[in-house]
């Protein structure tokens, strides 16, 4: 899945996803990507978030909505993302998933669930402090 969040210079937010889902899924299966609050969520009052990974599990926790609510409650984006991953870890310690978060002042962060084969998550950032898109990595928790 590509999940994307955009904060306009005026503070307007938008978020989106696009994916072809899991390989060899049962026909008819839809994951988290097209579900608002699961695949992505945005609210000018707080910020925006998007998720990627095992959509069958992510869908049950509405991670993007939850991350935006954590930011609404004052958490910085990185912390908001980490808290979402922690919530899911309690039930599914081996789930594959990552979340990106951004608030309306332009701060951003990401978090992921550490697995033996997934210790770091790469994501892209472009803002007015850089003159090109930058790849960033976050250590999974």
């Amino acid at each position: 899945t590509i999940g994307m969040v955009v904060i306009h210079k005026t503070g307007h937010t938008a978020a989106g996803t696009s994916t072809n889902g899991l390989k060899f899924k049962i026909p008819g299966r839809v994951g988290d990507s097209p579900i608002p609050g699961a695949g992505a969520y945005a609210d000018d009052m707080a910020g925006a978030a998007a998720a990627t990974g095992d959509g069958d599990i992510l869908l049950r926790f509405l991670p993007s909505y939850q991350a935006v609510e954590y930011m609404r409650g004052g958490d910085d984006p990185a912390r908001a993302c980490q808290k979402v991953i922690s919530r899911i870890q309690k039930y599914y310690p081996k789930f594959f998933g990552a979340v990106i978060c951004a608030n309306v002042t332009g701060s951003y962060g990401a978090a992921c669930n550490r697995l033996p084969t997934f210790a770091q998550f790469s994501f892209m950032v472009y803002n007015s402090l850089h003159n090109q898109a930058i790849e960033e990595k976050v250590d999974c928790i």
Partner: protein
Amino acid sequence: SNPLPLVVNTWPFKNATEAAWWTLVSGGSALDAVEKGCAVCEKEQCGGTVGFGGSPDEVGETTLDAMIMDGTAMDVGAVGGLRRIKNAIGVARKVLEHTTHTLLVGDSATKFAVSMGFTSEDLSTNTSRALHSDWLSRSCQPNYWRNVIPDPSKYCGPYKPPDFLEQNNPAHKEVDIHSHD
């Protein structure tokens, strides 16, 4: 200094990030930027997990999921299990702009897309067909079935619930004494 505007996306899909950024720089809205950025990945089949020709289902078909959300109006458009249409995020944008619904799924979402002017075409490619035939040759492993017969960790389907045979065994049907010759 103020870092806005800001584009963040999952995975190192740089072309998508740049497409979104240049949409903003050329005066587009945040929604336009998300649509353009994700559409680049659909065209480029980012990571094999976005767009046509990837992640075939059990019968070899590629279907697409996408959503787009306007955080100012709390407005959303989304498609799930979209068949035969490549530009899923574009269709999601049309759901947002031309309906009061949020999510359209399956064949009916395809009909909606065609009515909005999108082209219906096969989303399979040699790559997705090869992935599928290879999966079949490996006894359909891995798969997402459990508590069914035959043992899904060893065999392909079709699968049935374990008690299916019991329920459908004619010998166990109640006899209707009023139904007779």
